[in-house]
């Protein structure tokens, strides 16, 4: 059988190890958040560091097959999303000293990593990898863009959850453990700003690369239309507050919708179109 994972024993083992580490880290963060487990509190950060490092080694081994260039299949992007989400959260935790949202972000990253590893195991050949610096920038920016969208969506969900808890006088676990509304709002706005920057780079680099390779930019391409629309909504949401007086609660609904929409889109593409750019290849 011609499969990049099954044909390569170290890669096969590492895929399982990375997935297991994600699951263990999620359990530790969950046990600390929901059960206030002291042993989970002690081991969750080392587990997070170990997961990130092991994932980097795994990616190194995975991309070494194609000369250390990442393929632009959905499953490759999913594993990159898992890594960027975890890394971004890692920096949030270490810079803000707040470890209260870890479970929610890492659980999503774990989901992405598990889907990626299952799909990789079922793929019969290596996916085409990018060539040229323009495509590299396009791909990396797209991954970081989606990670920012995911973080904005997840934090928006937590914001609404806490908002409702306070309004309904339900001062229970979430009220006790989550950071305050203002901190969540700041995290959302930072994620939106970064998301917009990365989506802009994705769009620009994609078009430049298309021109450079002699292709024609088809503005009716569904991928381009969708990305353009998301970019526009994201961009607008940065200015929508000061201009229209929108409050963060309404923005949170919009950001959750975008996050769910994009996640579904990626999942559908993963099912029906194994590579994003298969039409143009």
């Amino acid at each position: 059988m011609n499969n990049i994972i099954l044909d390569n024993t170290p890669l096969f083992i590492l895929t399982q190890v990375v997935s297991m580490l994600y699951i263990v880290t999620t359990i530790l963060y969950g046990a600390h958040f929901f059960k206030d487990s002291q042993s989970a509190k002690k081991y969750k950060q080392p587990a997070l560091v170990l997961t990130v490092l092991t994932h980097l080694v795994y990616l190194g081994l995975l991309t070494s097959i194609a000369g250390y260039r990442i393929g632009y299949s959905t499953f490759n992007i999913m594993t990159m999303v898992a890594l960027t989400l975890t890394t971004t959260y890692f920096f949030i935790e270490f810079t803000t000293k707040s470890d209260k949202t870890g479970f929610f972000v890492i659980a999503f990253a774990t989901g992405a990593e598990l889907i990626s590893s299952i799909m990789t195991a079922q793929t019969s050949s290596t996916s085409p990898s990018f060539t040229g610096i323009g495509m590299g920038v396009h791909l990396i920016a797209a991954i970081f863009g989606f990670s920012a969208i995911a973080i904005a969506g997840l934090y928006s969900f937590l914001y609404l959850l806490l908002f409702r808890q306070i309004q309904r006088n339900r001062f229970e676990l979430l009220f006790q453990r989550l950071p305050n509304l203002e901190v969540l709002e700041r995290l959302i706005m930072h994620a939106v700003a970064f998301g917009f920057i990365f989506l802009s780079v994705t769009l620009f680099a994609g078009m430049v690369e298309q021109n450079a390779t002699g292709g024609v930019v088809n503005i009716s391409d569904p991928k381009l239309v969708t990305l353009g629309l998301i970019w526009l909504i994201y961009g607008t949401s940065i200015f929508i507050r000061p201009l229209l007086g929108w409050d963060i609660k309404h923005m949170a609904y919009l950001l959750i919708f975008l996050f769910v929409f994009i996640t579904l889109l990626i999942t559908l593409m993963a099912v029906f179109s194994p590579t994003f750019h298969s039409i143009s290849l």
Binding site: I166, R170, E172, N180, V183, G245, D247
Partner: protein, 425 residues
């Protein structure tokens, strides 16, 4: 050697009884000095707070029992008419130690985990030490209690979360805003409740506090006390509602002092930026309809009590951890007490061996050189230490279920033919 504790507290007696028995600092000193100078106690300490008056006594004679001490304090306070021995609890030996450890770690308090009791226990010990009524036993007991309280505070969450309405208000504000120093706060009403809430806010770095009160001078006095010096005339504060992120109301009034229409206008002016109104008034000061406005958090006393209830619930979940710390310390304290019991035997044993050594060396003093005598002395010291090591270790070892301390002491005393110890403190 025993240590007795008797007393009244919120669990054993109603407030009228507690008031009748409570002692001021002067009375406290007089009481324990009387116990010591009267030859009734070797050591004594009185813990007297608004919720409890408790005696901790190391009796000097067998007649001084729990019942005797109850009667003694009732007579001292001339409260025979109102107070009966049934209003008291009494504990002995390890029960006393456990009780003081529970009191110091605030699990015996009316409000579980309250923060004042440890300071009150320290004050009781200070008074006892000042009148030289705190000897080795009470000193060790109190220091162990302080250590227990410290461990409980650092290792458990028994003291976490607000348990007063005014502090719950601050806790809620901190769950909405991250930095209270950046927020503008309006306090409507400079009464006791408002003052307490403002002080809690101030303690959490809130500095931009504006005060308004019907009596302007009262508002000015509180503003000066807080160091804000910001006062708004009561007649015009409503024109400035939109400027504030947190509004605390604590006035006594039949009508709402802030209406839905007024707050709606204020919210439009501040472009829907979130506002918290903490209504600490009874009857309520703010129209409940305000709570339906967008980005408005209106919380009255009932809502804040939900926070308190949840916090108390969480604190009570920590009780097993606290009890485990207390048990740990109780074992160590019990072992220390046991070493007190064996100390005279150890001293006698060592004295006996030193006496034998000196007698034997004396016989050789003029038969050998000074250098040889010094070596012999050194050798006998080493042999003596090695022989005594095991019996002393056995005496100091924790008591197991199969033996008891008196039998061990008797065994050593019989084997080494030691004289009967003096029965003193």
């Amino acid at each position: 050697m025993n240590i007795i504790s008797v007393g009244v507290n919120h669990k054993t007696a109603p407030i009228e009884i507690r008031e009748r028995i409570s002692l001021s600092e002067v009375q406290n000193k007089e009481f324990i000095t009387g116990l010591i100078s009267g030859g009734l106690a070797h050591e004594a300490m009185v813990l007297s707070t608004c919720n409890r008056t408790e005696l901790y006594v190391v009796p000097a004679m067998h007649e001084v029992t729990g019942e005797y001490l109850k009667d003694y304090i009732i007579s001292f306070r001339d409260a025979r008419k109102d107070v009966r021995p049934e209003h008291f609890f009494s504990r002995f030996y390890c029960g006393t130690a456990r009780h003081l450890f529970e009191v110091s770690s605030a699990i015996d308090s009316l409000i579980l985990g309250e923060g004042q009791i440890l300071g009150q226990v320290k004050e009781a010990y200070r008074i006892a030490a000042e009148v030289q009524a705190a000897g080795i036993l009470i000193t060790r007991l109190c220091h162990t209690a302080f250590s227990v309280a410290k461990k409980v505070k650092t290792r458990t969450k028994i003291m976490e979360g607000a348990v007063s309405v005014s502090y719950a208000a601050v806790e809620l504000a901190q769950k909405i805003f991250s930095n209270l120093s950046m927020k503008k706060i309006l306090l409507v009403g400079a009464g006791e409740t408002g003052e307490l809430a403002a002080k809690h806010m101030f303690a959490k770095n809130a500095r931009n506090i504006v005060i308004t009160n019907r009596t302007q001078s009262k508002a000015e006095a509180l503003a000066e006390e807080l160091g804000t010096n910001r006062v708004l005339p009561f007649e015009s504060y409503k024109e400035h509602l939109h400027e504030f992120d947190i509004i605390i109301t604590a006035v006594s009034t039949k009508d709402y002092i802030i209406t839905e229409a007024e707050m709606h206008g204020a919210m439009q002016k501040r472009r829907l930026k979130p506002v918290i109104i903490l209504d600490l008034g009874l009857p309520r000061n703010a129209d409940p309809e305000i709570g339906k406005l967008q980005n408005m958090f209106l919380k009255d006393i009932d809502a804040l009590k939900h926070i308190i209830d949840k916090n108390l619930e969480r604190r009570s979940l920590e009780l097993p951890k606290v009890h485990s710390i207390i048990d740990e310390e109780l074992v160590a304290f019990g072992q220390w007490i046991n070493t007190l019991k064996v100390r005279p035997t150890i001293v006698d044993l060592q004295s006996k061996f030193i006496e034998i050594k000196e007698k034997e060396l004396e016989r050789y003093r003029y038969k050998v050189s000074e250098e040889e005598l010094r070596r012999m002395e050194h050798l006998t010291d080493r042999i003596m230490k090695k022989i005594l090591h095991h019996p002393i270790k056995m005496l100091k070892a924790p008591i197991s279920t199969s033996d008891n301390m008196p039998s061990r002491v008797d065994l050593v005393r019989n084997v080494f033919d030691l004289e009967e110890p003096n029965q003193s403190h």
